[in-house]
């Protein structure tokens, strides 16, 4: 199988996940789509230029992550209050089940309120299923920091979600 086919297979496999990751990081669907697309195209360019990649999935995440960071640097990040007021918009593919939709909203809102560093890690850990060791490698953080922040994030989450879930 040629490189092109292999790559497009990778797209089919990872596009959703990458998109979701981007979405929960930037909380803007359109931006998330663009970021996902950009991540893939840049990865392809990297590959087409003759570079080798051991773990394509991890690489894609890293590219996406870098793109997100670049984005947030360029634009002043929206303040927390604004987000709270804006609320989380319903996408076109919001799940039909009202329960699910509410879940999504709640969770997304909760995420917004968590500090970015912790939030990112939470997303990586629980949405993308990345083991802490990989997170450390991707974000260039010492593992200890990863653990600590994950813990803190979990605490905040529990508090935010406790009303809804009686955890």
């Amino acid at each position: 199988m040629g490189p092109e086919q292999a790559f497009i297979q990778a797209y089919d496999q990872y596009a959703d996940a990458i998109y979701r990751h981007c979405y929960f990081r930037v909380l803007d669907r359109e931006k998330a789509r663009d970021l996902m697309q950009e991540a893939f195209t840049r990865t392809w360019s990297y590959l087409a230029d003759g570079n080798e990649v051991d773990n394509l999935r991890a690489f894609l995440y890293r590219v996406a992550n870098n793109l997100i960071i670049d984005q947030s640097r360029k634009r002043p990040t929206v303040s927390l209050d604004e987000i709270r007021e804006r609320g989380v918009e319903l996408g076109k593919t919001s799940p039909e089940d009202i329960g699910k939709r509410l879940d999504l909203q709640v969770v997304a809102k909760a995420l917004q309120q968590i500090d970015p560093p912790c939030r990112d890690l939470l997303i990586l850990r629980y949405l993308d299923g990345m083991p802490p060791r990989d997170i450390a490698k991707t974000c260039h953080l010492p593992i200890s920091r990863v653990y600590v922040q994950l813990h803190r994030g979990r605490q905040q989450l529990r508090i935010l979600l406790s009303t809804t879930y009686h955890a």
Binding site: P3, T41, D54, K100
Partner: protein
């Protein structure tokens, strides 16, 4: 995992990427992949697309959207195939121009492929014009549009050829340039002939034939605008005003001239590069000999079918090419590789031009009766393309009057009996042609319509047309 985390996780996955968006992005990425092909096919050996879980759901994940669009594409396949022959004004023509041809363009990646494709498209536009004109269906608007398209394609060819040259691939650049130039040159002759034919059939009618007039005098400001900057530099009085209007024929001539100039530059460059390269000269010689041989076979068939008179011009051109070839061989044996190379290149080009002439004859043979009764003047014009010397002097034949009087190409010292025979035949042909031309001139002066089996009381040309669409410009060398 704690319960809330589970819920948290679960809730997150509720965010879905819309299938439509997914597909759209997929297409974009495919396009990006096409634009940026992988340098090294090996690279994906090491990349492992890690399967988190066996991908049993891939099929289900692919939305029906893709399946439907695929179905439409397959169903539409017949349409786009049928559109290949469409003429402007025809029902399928918009599909041809807006779908089929652009689709082919998206599949061409290298500058070389793009140049080849653009040259083919330029050829197509010209043939469409000729078909319409012969049918009597050419309007000023269509002519203008076709001229526009032609300019666009010709410009693209030249741009890509220049790009190839800049990238160092001078050989390919020269080859493509040659083919395009030969093609344009042949078309120019065809159109001139069509125009002249129109005048003849019209006789001295005061009623101008609209359709033929448009072929000759269509005004295209857009065309003129894209004519070379060089032309504008020379005519300094064109600032501000809308550029001078140009006809379809002039466009072809302009482009042909530009192509020729570019060609000559390229050939010079190629010659410089292979200054002492014996190998390069050898290769070029092989190429030229092949081309000549192929064209000879083609010519033999055409002569058998249409008569030697019709293919006389091509014969002359081909013979000239052979002469140049033998000159090249002389130089080669004298170790003058650069000179030999240039000669071989010229011989090659001569063979290609001869080939184009034959193609043109085939195209028009069926409907232009003069071809069977004698050689019309345009063939005379085409017959004498003088050999280009290394100094770059190119005595081009600008005038038909010079055509019959142009000096015969120099002959080698070692003349075989066959060559001598050919020479004699050539001289006889030329004498005959001179006589016929004088007759034609006399006739047109008297105003009597040239005898043709097709009487035309109306200005329209009522002959039947069937341009051979299978004889496309052959750029495979």
């Amino acid at each position: 995992m704690r319960k809330f985390l589970k819920l948290f996780r679960h809730a997150l996955t509720n965010e879905q990427l819309a299938p439509a968006d997914r597909e759209a992005i997929r297409s974009t990425i495919l396009r990006a992949i096409a634009l940026h092909p992988a340098k090294n096919e090996q690279l994906f050996q090491r990349v492992r697309v890690r399967d988190a879980a066996p991908d049993l759901f891939a099929f289900l994940r692919r939305p029906s959207f893709a399946v439907i669009s695929l179905g439409i594409l397959l169903a539409g396949g017949g349409v786009s195939y049928a559109a290949e022959d469409a003429l402007p004004g025809g029902f399928l023509y918009p599909i041809k121009v807006a779908v089929t041809e652009p689709l082919r363009a998206t599949l061409t990646f290298s500058a070389e492929q793009r140049a080849v494709l653009a040259a083919k498209l330029a050829d197509r536009r010209l043939r469409e014009a000729e078909r319409l004109a012969a049918d009597g269906r050419l309007t000023a608007e269509t002519s203008a549009q076709l001229a526009n398209q032609l300019t666009k394609h010709a410009a693209k060819v030249q741009a890509n050829v220049a790009r190839l040259e800049a990238a160092g691939n001078v050989q390919a650049a020269a080859n493509i340039g040659t083919a395009l130039e030969a093609n344009l040159y042949a078309h120019a002759e065809v159109m001139t002939q069509l125009e002249r034919k129109a005048k003849e059939l019209r006789g001295n009618d005061d009623e101008p034939d609209e359709d033929w007039e448009t072929l000759a005098t269509s005004t295209t400001a857009g065309v003129a605008a894209t004519t070379t900057a060089a032309a504008d530099q020379n005519s300094g009085d064109n600032d501000g005003r809308p550029r001078k209007e140009s006809t379809l024929l002039e466009t072809i001539r302009d482009r042909s001239g530009m192509a020729r100039r570019q060609q000559e530059n390229l050939e010079r460059r190629v010659a410089e590069r292979s200054k002492q390269s014996r190998k390069a000269a050898e290769n070029k010689r092989a190429a030229a000999e092949n081309a000549i041989e192929e064209t000879r076979k083609f010519l033999r068939k055409a002569s058998a079918r249409y008569g030697t008179a019709a293919t006389a011009a091509a014969t002359v051109r081909l013979d000239a090419a052979m002469t140049v070839l033998s000159q090249g061989i002389e130089r080669f044996n004298a170790d003058e590789f650069a000179q030999a190379f240039v000669q071989f290149q010229l011989a090659h080009r001569g063979a290609q031009e001869a080939r184009q002439l034959i193609v043109a004859v085939k195209d028009l043979e069926k409907r232009l009766p003069t071809l069977s009764t004698g050689t019309p003047s345009w063939l005379l014009a085409a017959s004498s393309t003088p050999v280009m010397t290394i100094g770059g002097e190119d005595a081009r034949d600008d005038d038909d009057e010079d055509a019959a009087e142009a000096p015969k190409p120099a002959t080698t010292t070692s003349q075989s009996a066959a060559e001598r025979r050919r020479e004699i035949e050539r001289e006889q042909n030329e004498l005959r042609r001179k006589e016929e031309r004088r007759e034609e001139n006399r006739r047109s002066e008297n105003g009597a319509p040239t005898p043709t089996p097709t009487p035309s009381p109306t200005p329209k040309i009522e002959v039947e047309v069937e341009i051979d669409t299978k004889t496309e410009l052959d750029l495979n060398f």
